[in-house]
Symmetry: C2
Subunit: 338 residues, 2 copies
């Protein structure tokens, strides 16, 4: 029995490509005291991983060449010497892209899952995981959305954006989405309930397009991308508008040369707030978010957009496609059970 691992073959130059990753075989780990061995079932592909691939410090230590890619996963406990966890338990945590991971009490994001059997397990990596919770907490706690608000969402067809659009619509807001492809625009308009969708690649004057789409100004901008999109959105905000800074993915592929912004003076001019936001600082809000999301999902009021890639060996190419912006919805790798 071997433990297949996806390791870093090369530091990506800009957008990752499949050859930046390599599949290797290692020994299956054995649980020491306080540890457990987890069989990974679903890998959650996340933009934050990109920052670990450059070999420079980020939130976490960088991933060295030849090192296993770190990322959140849903797994099943195989063997456990960790109190409170039994074989067969389903868990979520920050592991590696591999068949079997060692996990312990210090595993980041570790929690036991008690999934609703009527809902797909993979949803707990997306709509019922960090993506959905980030959308819910960001819109409510940071954005303070209220009925009638105009809510602008960037990366509107993405894992978090697709949930944010739907939550805002459910809460009675007017939703305007920003995407990078006509195919995504159609999904955001037809499936996610957005009133208006803008394909930024087709708008030489994005700020002007946003002003036309939001004639009374944007009350809440749920920003997943930063960069030139944020710069344009600053020109479309209403007085006193709130920007939820949820991600700045536009610079994740090029951390060494961030995009210049020119319109920050609007923050004073329009009395805006821009609040950076990472879910782990608001963990006390997660139970309420999870309950609301599960209720909406169970009632069919929220649609989950998932892009599932089959097989651990395809994880690198799946991640590369995601970071190139060509996918729709939450990106998941279903680990093939060899």
């Amino acid at each position: 029995m071997v433990n297949r691992q996806v390791v870093l073959a090369a530091h990506p130059q800009g957008v990752p490509v499949a050859s930046d990753f390599r599949l290797v075989e290692a020994a299956v780990p054995v649980a020491g005291p306080g540890q457990m061995v987890v069989r990974n079932l679903y890998l959650s592909l996340e933009a934050a991983i990109r920052g670990w691939l450059d070999g420079t410090a980020n939130y976490f230590e960088p991933i060295v060449l030849g090192g296993a890619i770190r990322g959140p996963s849903i797994g099943r406990v195989e063997s456990s010497r960790l109190a409170g966890f039994e074989p067969g338990d389903l868990i979520f945590g920050l592991h590696h892209w591999e068949d079997y991971s060692l996990s312990d009490a210090n595993t980041v994001l570790l929690r036991k899952l008690t999934p609703n059997p009527l809902l797909p397990l993979s949803w707990y990596a997306g709509a019922l995981g960090g993506s959905g919770q980030t959308a819910y907490v960001g819109l409510h706690r940071i954005g303070a959305i209220k009925p009638g608000d105009t809510v602008l969402v960037s990366a509107a067809a993405g894992a978090t954006g697709s949930i944010a659009c739907q939550i805002a619509a459910i809460e009675g807001c007017r939703v305007v989405g920003i995407v990078g492809a006509d195919e995504k625009a159609e999904v955001v308009r037809e499936t996610l309930g957005a009133d208006t969708v803008i394909n930024y690649r087709k708008e030489p004057d994005l700020a002007g397009a946003l002003v036309r789409a939001c004639p009374e100004g944007v009350n809440v901008y749920f920003d997943n991308v930063g960069g030139t999109t944020l710069d344009a959105a600053l020109m479309a905000m209403a007085q006193g508008g709130r920007i939820v800074g949820c991600g700045m993915i536009s610079d994740y592929n090029n951390a060494a040369s961030p995009t210049p912004l020119y319109n920050l003076w609007q923050v004073v001019e329009r009395q805006l707030s821009l609040q950076g936001f990472l879910l782990y600082s608001y963990l006390d809000e997660v139970p309420a978010a999870s309950a609301a999301l599960e209720a909406w999902l169970s009632a069919g009021r929220l649609t989950v957009l998932e892009n599932v890639t089959e097989g651990l060996s395809a994880a690198g190419s799946a991640y590369s496609a995601m970071m190139a912006g060509t996918t729709i919805g939450k990106n998941i790798v279903c680990v093939d059970q060899t």
Copy 2:
């Protein structure tokens, strides 16, 4: 009897110069129904005026060539047909740079002054006016300062910054000031209670200097300037730090070509909040601010830095010097009583 007025002779190119202004003579106005005639005593020179000189719309309509410069002043009522105002009353309001102004119920910022006779009247245009109130409300309400915080203040020798430094020190914060001249640095250190002062003109790596000056990170940045200083400060913020966006004066002289910022991704990385702030949206907080400021001033705990220019004819050159950044403290023009 004539009414001398300072009018706009030319739209400034970058930093205003004295020849952008011209003194003319007009008729003394006569109060119609609901109006009063005010004898201007002190003009409050403010950065916001710069935006009106370009001939393009800003918060207010632009000032046309030949038009009187608009600005806040302290004046004495000469004659009144406005209910509630009597000759001899002292008032504050947005008037023009002239001997006599017409004022009415729609005058922006209009309020009757009941000055403390033990304090100089001119202070009501600065430390006891918008500058001091902005510092107080910005630090407390927006910045939520608490004892032990590291508070960074830009334009620390300016009208608002000089009060902000002192309030933060009184409240038990560690104060770090940013200025543009060694002469200012000395004042901020010796008189205003700052622990450390940085002359940004002498720091090729301002971000590095700020990180060294604030090894535990900046909890609250009271930002009067925006631009490259804000960009550098973003790299020195503590996790969860708060930026009070009080002004972006660095771009006021060049509104058409704002300074690019590169470090906005830190807003997410460090979970910062950046809140733009204009005093007029927090008028309900002004009475408490005024009371605290007057108590500190009366007790000698706050020092007022004032740069008083004598004579209406010198208003244009005084304003030009202020916008060139060569002055210290609140800039006031004492209107000579001809």
